[in-house]
């Protein structure tokens, strides 16, 4: 039986990113975890299997990642905050049902602790190779929210943020971390439960007989009834009208639905997007980074300043929706942008699009230790020469 009193481990802890993620989920009110073991995300499952029982939630190890996300969608529709955690190969298996979650407007959280790909790749090595998969992995037009933590504390904080965004917009939200953040041990401060901002899905106010499950409010988000509450509604992965009835040939219904599902995020992008600006005010070269490389980037920028390079950092916390305007603003001001990524060039494409004519330099790393500050400084030095 649900026992919220054990959900929030208030205090200062020394834990790994994966464990902090699990604690963040519990603090956000997560009551259901469905997952499948995969390096380097397994520790989240392990922690949840122990802790969810303590708080009266449900942990189930499914037969694969497809089953995991399907069960998570089911649990969310049954009224529970639900999540799964995986890595690249499992994330690929989940893609079809991420589309189902988008289409049926299911709030849920997917944690992807990225490793090296393609395929089985390098299971124990870091990577940021799923950035575009997170954005475009499922078929059809849709928008997605993905956040990239760069510290163990952020694994805790952003997991809560992921749940809050999922519940606010009725969407699947992805926590896109990398192996280093997942396995790194750092200090984590968990505040008292009452100081944690926890958002829950809005419930319908209409009488049960009049409820239309996909009729949006002004914010484009429909209030969400759950199974067993007496609304007796139908949800489907087929294109559907506001009542939830399939409309498989109407261009009008398809256009209206697909646009609204995307606009929920597009039109609220300003509210969703979070980024950290460091020493950008007078910068003439900028680093744009997220996840593990942003830690080296921060050192690099500080170090570069000491050496007389006017460097600044834009650390992206939100990757999707892409912070187009923030990047554009930086691009207008600087002579060049350096993008360190643990892949062969993914988010750099978005940066280039936003930067227009400002030169963008990719610092790619594959399957090795992350960027060193010296490498980033060197790139900046060359860029502003």
């Amino acid at each position: 039986m649900v026992d919220e009193s054990r959900a929030v481990l208030t205090g200062t802890h020394f834990m790994s990113g994966d464990l902090a993620c699990a604690e963040g989920a519990l603090a956000a009110g997560c009551q259901f975890f469905g997952g499948y073991p995969i390096t380097p995300a397994t520790e989240i499952s392990e922690r949840m299997s122990r802790r969810l029982v303590e708080v009266g939630g449900v942990f189930v190890q499914m037969e694969d990642e497809i089953g995991s996300i399907a069960a998570v969608i089911g649990a969310s529709y049954a009224g529970k905050k639900a999540m799964t955690a995986t890595s690249g190969p499992g994330f690929s298996l989940m893609q079809e049902n991420i589309g189902l979650a988008v289409m049926t407007e299911t709030p849920l959280v997917i944690v992807n602790i990225m490793r090296g790909g393609p395929s089985t790749g390098q299971p124990t090595m870091p990577g940021q190779q799923d950035v575009m998969q997170a954005r475009w992995g499922s078929h059809g037009d849709y928008e997605i929210i993905a956040l990239a933590p760069s510290s163990v504390q952020e694994m805790f904080n952003l997991t809560i943020e992921c749940f809050n965004l999922a519940e606010t917009y009725r969407v699947p939200v992805i926590l896109l971390a990398d192996e280093i953040i997942g396995h790194m041990w750092e200090r984590v401060k968990i505040p008292p439960a009452e100081e944690i901002n926890v958002v829950s899905r809005k419930k319908p106010k209409t009488p049960t007989a009049e409820y239309q499950p996909f009729k949006p409010d002004k914010d484009l988000v429909p209030p969400m009834a759950c199974f067993g509450e007496g609304y007796r509604f139908h949800a489907t992965g087929l294109t559907h009208d506001e009542k939830g009835a399939p409309e498989t040939v109407s261009a009008e219904v398809q256009t209206e639905l697909v646009k609204r599902l995307a606009d929920k995020i597009r039109k609220n992008a300003e509210k969703i997007v979070k980024a950290q600006r460091v020493m950008l005010e007078d910068a003439d070269v900028a680093v744009i980074a997220y996840g593990i490389p942003s830690r080296a980037a921060l050192s690099a920028v500080r170090e570069a300043r000491k050496k007389g390079i006017k460097a600044g950092l834009l650390r992206l916390v939100t990757i999707w929706p892409f912070p187009q305007e923030l990047v554009s603003d930086v691009a207008k001001q600087v002579k060049a942008i350096v993008v360190p990524e643990m892949n062969y060039g993914q988010l750099v494409r978005e940066v280039e699009r936003a930067a227009k004519t400002t030169p963008v330099i990719l610092l790619s790393k594959l399957g090795e230790e992350p960027h060193r500050p010296s490498e980033i400084i060197e790139a900046m030095r060359r860029a502003v020469k």
Partner: protein, 284 residues
């Protein structure tokens, strides 16, 4: 009774989303009979309609969830059982029923089926088995009999079919029954029994597919196929499901398995109580 609102006087009409009638299924398709029998069962049991969830997958029968006036969800292909597992575990008060086809449940969704049965998740799975993929135009599937003609077995099927009842029993289902769409009373009785039973229950309904599979294989009209069911069906309760093959000359039907075993949900709740009690003891 006037003709226009006659439907409303049908004793099962209140369980249907009437505005979505008529359903999409062909004339003589068994899916409508399965829907009919399911509604008869919930009518007879007088269950709280607010606590039933019907989940379906993809295929002709996938549309069934949209026709029943309860909470319902139409999932992606093959994932109905995994979705239903999440629903049932998250809210054990709900009665969760998966209604889907042989291709959805046993080809693309086969893994979820065997593992849900093994876990003994307290869900009921009702399968309309028409021996092929009807909605996509009649391709062979995991139940297509050897030598049958389908659009992807133009020289005859060379794959051996699943015996679904045997598969369900071997995977751990606590209740396994098979009927044809002619056995409406017994099918209804089996659904009632499954709904009252704790654990993973499986009911297979052999269905005509008059427009596609039966036509390709020159089995005659839907009535002819139903007459064939009548001719070759033999009721064998308690029969070893391994021996309950379906052949041209014999369809063994009946309740094959009816055992007791604690469900996953029960074991989970018991474990949770134990763990929480221990924590409380340690704290005090």
């Amino acid at each position: 009774m006037s003709e226009s609102n006659l439907m409303m006087h049908h004793y099962l009409a209140k369980y249907l989303r009437q505005e979505r009638m008529p359903h999409i299924w062909c004339e003589g398709c068994g899916n409508g009979i399965l829907l009919n029998c399911f509604l008869q069962a919930i009518n007879e049991l007088n269950v709280d309609l607010n606590k039933i969830v019907v989940v379906s997958g993809i295929g002709c029968i996938g549309r069934v969830s949209g026709y029943i006036n309860v909470d319902s969800f139409h999932t992606t292909h093959g994932r109905a059982i995994a979705f239903a597992t999440g629903v049932k575990l998250a809210n054990p008060e709900l009665e969760v029923v998966v209604i889907s086809g042989d291709g959805d449940l046993f080809a693309i969704g086969g893994n979820h089926f065997i593992h849900a049965a093994r876990r003994n998740v307290d869900i009921k799975v009702i399968c309309a088995n028409n021996f092929n993929y009807g909605m996509t135009g009649g391709q062979y599937g995991p139940t297509t009999p050897l030598d049958a003609w389908t659009t992807t077995t133009p020289y005859g099927n060379i794959e051996h079919p699943f015996n679904l009842a045997h598969l369900a029993a071997a995977a751990g289902a606590v209740y396994v029954a098979r009927w044809t769409s002619l056995h409406v009373r017994r099918l209804k009785a089996s659904i009632i029994k499954a709904l009252q039973k704790e654990g993973f229950s499986f009911i297979e309904m052999i269905s005509p597919c008059p427009e596609i599979f039966d036509r390709y294989n020159k089995m005659g009209t839907a009535v002819d196929v139903m007459k064939w069911f009548r001719l070759v069906s033999q009721v064998r309760h308690g029969c070893d499901p391994a021996k309950a093959e379906i052949t041209e000359n014999e369809i063994l039907v009946g309740e094959f398995v009816d055992i007791e075993k604690p469900s996953y949900g029960r074991l989970l709740r018991e474990m949770t109580s134990r763990v929480q009690d221990k924590l409380k003891r340690e704290e005090s």
